[in-house]
């Protein structure tokens, strides 16, 4: 099929030999051949008509929870029924309004989204600035065959441009078009081919969750309460036991369900992450959008050598919110060699183990009696690396070119010990590259050196439209 040859135009997937002639037609001009200039020919499109029903569903559940309590208390189910009907009608009517007024269209280099009926909002999003494109399908949406498309942009902790809901093929088509335009290719370029790099087996996922800190804490609490209850022979304890057990199981369940069937693939459009048992996620993070990587190893993961990888992608947001945390997971659990291989695909040419580390000076023990032995930092010509953590070990990796700023801070205790802390600031996310408690001289030198390294790295950085890079992919 002609699609095959066209998809090869997207450049080589490493490992798959590509005929060099096939690489030639990559357009280099900033504005690619657009069959539909400025998008004038197309109408503003609406979202899928099932949207009000799906959005109403969430509020419906909330109303049931609130009104239902009252109904149970007053034993007045007739009123409850009326309220339910009213809630459904109101929800669908309001949802329909919002659906009717929400429209979108691609206009040249921008995606335009119109929304709101009381407060109108017209938003234009520069497609080449997109940081990630995710297709999220909650269970209810899957039943109806629709999906939510999320465009992640830098700035703002929440998704700035969610398009909920589109038909599944529609969402995929739009994603392909957005990615093609962001890459600097013609809009009708088909979806790039991909190659699977890692798949997380369900058994490993379950086992890693069971030996993780949140579950163990819950389990320990359960055992303590159970033991106390048995010894004291008071039934009161049972009231704590059940929620505790549910809480512990809930942690495992949530983790397992959200990260079930986790796969990471590589394509010329970047990384593709798929996961989820009930709600499914398909994320695409284009090349050069990863701002930093965190490698985390919990205490009981050590015998197996398991690690978790999380990434900073501008727009995915921080650890504070659950969604951001879910989205930032690059690999929930894998043995280190597998994770390292993946890391080399994400940050090409980076060898984390090979970066020489420096230990914090011995006098840091006054501030970190145990942890000081695990405070390390190091840098090579590509990345800056810090290690921290006694029980749970965390390694932060930040490419020099991605650093936003570098800070030195020093508190009064640190000053007495002639220590200082160096922070490498990255967009909000799990990566926390902080070289704690360095000697003052090292800290200042490090900050100066990082500023210089980042300057050089930025100069060598590829363009935002990644397909316009004619550089060899190392």
């Amino acid at each position: 099929m002609s699609q095959m040859s066209e998809s090869a135009d997207r450049g080589p997937v490493d490992g798959i030999p590509v005929d060099p002639i096939a690489l030639d037609p990559i357009p280099v001009d900033p504005i690619p051949v657009d069959p539909n200039p400025a998008g004038e020919a197309t109408e503003l499109r609406r979202l899928h008509p099932a949207t009000p029903v799906l959005n109403g569903w969430k509020y419906f559940a909330l109303v049931v929870a609130i009104v239902g309590q009252e109904a149970v208390r007053d034993l007045d189910f007739r009123l409850f029924g009326i309220q339910m009907v009213a809630a459904v009608v109101l929800g669908v009517v309001l949802g329909s309004f919002s659906w009717w007024f929400t429209k979108y269209r691609i206009e040249g280099e921008e995606l335009r989204i119109e929304s709101g009926f009381l407060f109108r909002r017209s938003r234009r999003i520069r497609i080449d600035r997109l940081q990630a494109v995710d297709i999220v399908r909650p269970v209810m949406a899957r039943l109806l065959g629709v999906a939510e498309l999320r465009l992640e942009m830098a700035g703002g902790g929440k998704t700035e441009a969610p398009l909920a809901y589109l038909t599944e093929p529609g969402a995929q088509k739009l994603r392909a078009e957005l990615l093609a335009r962001a890459a600097g290719l013609a809009a009708d370029t088909p979806e790039a081919p991909e190659r699977q790099l890692v798949a997380v087996p369900p058994g490993v996922l379950l086992a890693s969750t069971v030996v993780s800190a949140p579950f163990l804490t819950a389990a320990l609490g359960f055992v303590v309460v159970a033991a106390t209850t048995t010894v004291v022979r008071e039934m009161v304890g049972l009231a704590f036991l059940i929620p505790w057990a549910l809480g512990g199981l809930g942690v495992v369940w949530r983790q397992f369900v959200s990260e079930f069937g986790f796969t990471v693939s590589e394509s010329p459009d970047g990384l593709r992450i798929r996961k989820g048992l009930l709600d499914t996620w398909a994320q695409t993070v284009p090349p050069g959008r990863v701002q930093g990587v965190e490698i985390e190893q919990q205490l009981l993961w050590r015998p197996k050598g398991w690690v978790k990888l999380s990434v900073d992608v501008a727009g995915y947001g921080g650890k504070g919110n659950q969604e951001g945390q879910t989205a930032s997971t690059l690999l929930p659990v894998a043995p280190w060699p597998v994770a390292r291989a993946l890391l080399e695909r994400v940050l090409p040419g980076v060898d984390v183990d090979g970066v020489e580390r420096v230990l914090a000076p011995r006098r840091a023990r006054w501030l970190r009696p145990i942890g000081w032995r695990y405070l390390r930092h190091g840098a090579d010509d590509r990345v800056f690396v810090t290690d921290t953590g006694w029980l749970t070990r965390r390694t932060a990796v930040v490419p020099h070119g991605k650093m936003q700023s570098v800070r030195i801070t020093q508190g009064p205790l640190q000053r007495r010990l002639d220590l200082a802390t160096v922070h490498l600031d990255t967009p909000v996310g799990p990566v926390n590259a902080v070289a704690l408690h360095r000697s003052s001289q090292v800290a200042r030198e490090l900050a100066e050196a990082q500023a210089e390294r980042s300057r050089q790295a930025r100069r060598a950085a590829g363009p935002e439209r990644w397909m316009q890079a004619q550089l060899p992919r190392e």
Partner: protein, 162 residues
Amino acid sequence: MDSLFAPPGERWQPVSPRLRSLRRALLAFWLGVGGLAGGVAIGVLLNWWLAAGAVVVAAGAFAWGWWLVGRNWESWGYAERGDDLLVTHGVLFKTLVVVPYGRMQFVDVTAGPVERKFGIATVQLHTATPATDAEIPGLTPEEAERLRDRLAALGEARAAGL
């Protein structure tokens, strides 16, 4: 001056002394209001000797605050280098931030009513992360404007993708 927070060149560019005046005026205002109100309340409810004590305490706090404001003002400094802006501040908790111009997303110049009265403004540099703490208070409006324009121009010239 210790070498950790030493200026990159000759010396740090200081911020306007008007910032110091503003902070001292605010201090005097709040301590004056608080001291008077407290003194009168204590005098009416308890006795006037204690009230005199409260006023003395307020005066002492004012002297101390005067000195703290001065120290804090002295700690502020910034320097423009070829490729990055350096800002330092803090007495007890010191900070030095190096922001490459190419990392800048936007620059803010703000001046509240009191700041305007004193003829100063604040310039803040924003990058893609809120962790970057590059704020310079107490610039004269001309300097703030100059810095803003220069930063904007340099930011554009050296702009790098995220």
